[in-house]
Symmetry: C2
Subunit: 140 residues, 2 copies
DNA sequence: TATTGTTATACTCTATAACTATA
DNA sequence: TATAGTTATAGAGTATAACAATA
């Protein structure tokens, strides 16, 4: 006979707070991206192009397969927001960079996002420093 | 003539901490789900079934379209992890609930996840309370 | 007529495997 | 032979629109 598995684990108050924070952050990110007609992944890649960046590096940063970056880069290129340029020092490599339009759109995304800034603005400077400290310690 | 758009906004230290927290949380969630052969969305739905729940309610909770829930529920059903039952009081409605196997798998997911608990365990009880308080204030 | 849920469809993200070109 | 990137393909999440059954 099989015993019932029982209820799932009960989260503590801090864990719930962390969950709510992450949940709201993710939703705000997605929503801000949609507001400028980007997907979250596209906004994420676009945001990493302050400097031109190789495909392999982007894949490593985002923790996904390189073939994935190829597709996202291709779409950003079609949208006129990014451009792939040959690497003079390595014929295999290509660097992805933002176009001027891409930077404009990304800045519109940032203004639409605002989640982190708004959250932080509800805290005093001392509280902000303390929050930062606690998060860093928790992340180890 | 068009002026350059200029650099994107520079995030503050707290904002960076928030970003890192969310990023690590999301990756750990995804990875834990994969470790029990679930997608993040499937784990998310499964985790909300401590009580049977209607499709519409699930869609509202997850902030997505109801047709989306239909698909995820169908897959969870095929996997034997959840079940859709008719609602006796409303012939249109169906309630999704975890099977015993679904609860077992979800508990394995929780053990694999552990991110929030591990993070929280690096803090003293006083620090945990303070973190919780600051997050709640920041989320308003 | 409004609501719950489903189906059909299309787009995107994602990974794997096979491939091209270069190192 | 190894590496950077691409292509082909397939599974899954997502939304919209049209639909069935019920309220």
């Amino acid at each position: 006979m099989t015993l019932p598995s029982g209820p799932v684990r009960q989260a503590s108050e801090v864990e719930s707070a962390l969950f709510d924070l992450v949940d709201q952050y993710d939703r705000a990110y997605e929503s801000a991206a949609a507001s400028v007609s980007l997907t979250a992944a596209q906004a994420c890649v676009l945001g990493r192009l302050d400097q031109p960046c190789g495909m392999k590096q982007l894949a490593a940063d985002l923790g996904c397969d390189a073939s994935n970056i190829t597709q996202i880069a291709a779409r950003l290129e079609i949208l006129g927001l990014a451009r792939r340029s040959p690497d003079p020092s390595d014929g295999r490599a290509r660097a992805l960079s933002r176009t001027r339009e891409g930077t404009k759109v990304y800045r519109r995304f940032e203004r639409a996002f605002g989640f982190a800034r708004a959250a932080v603005d509800r805290l005093t400077p001392t509280e902000q420093a303390r929050l930062s400290e606690l998060i860093r310690k928790a992340l180890n």
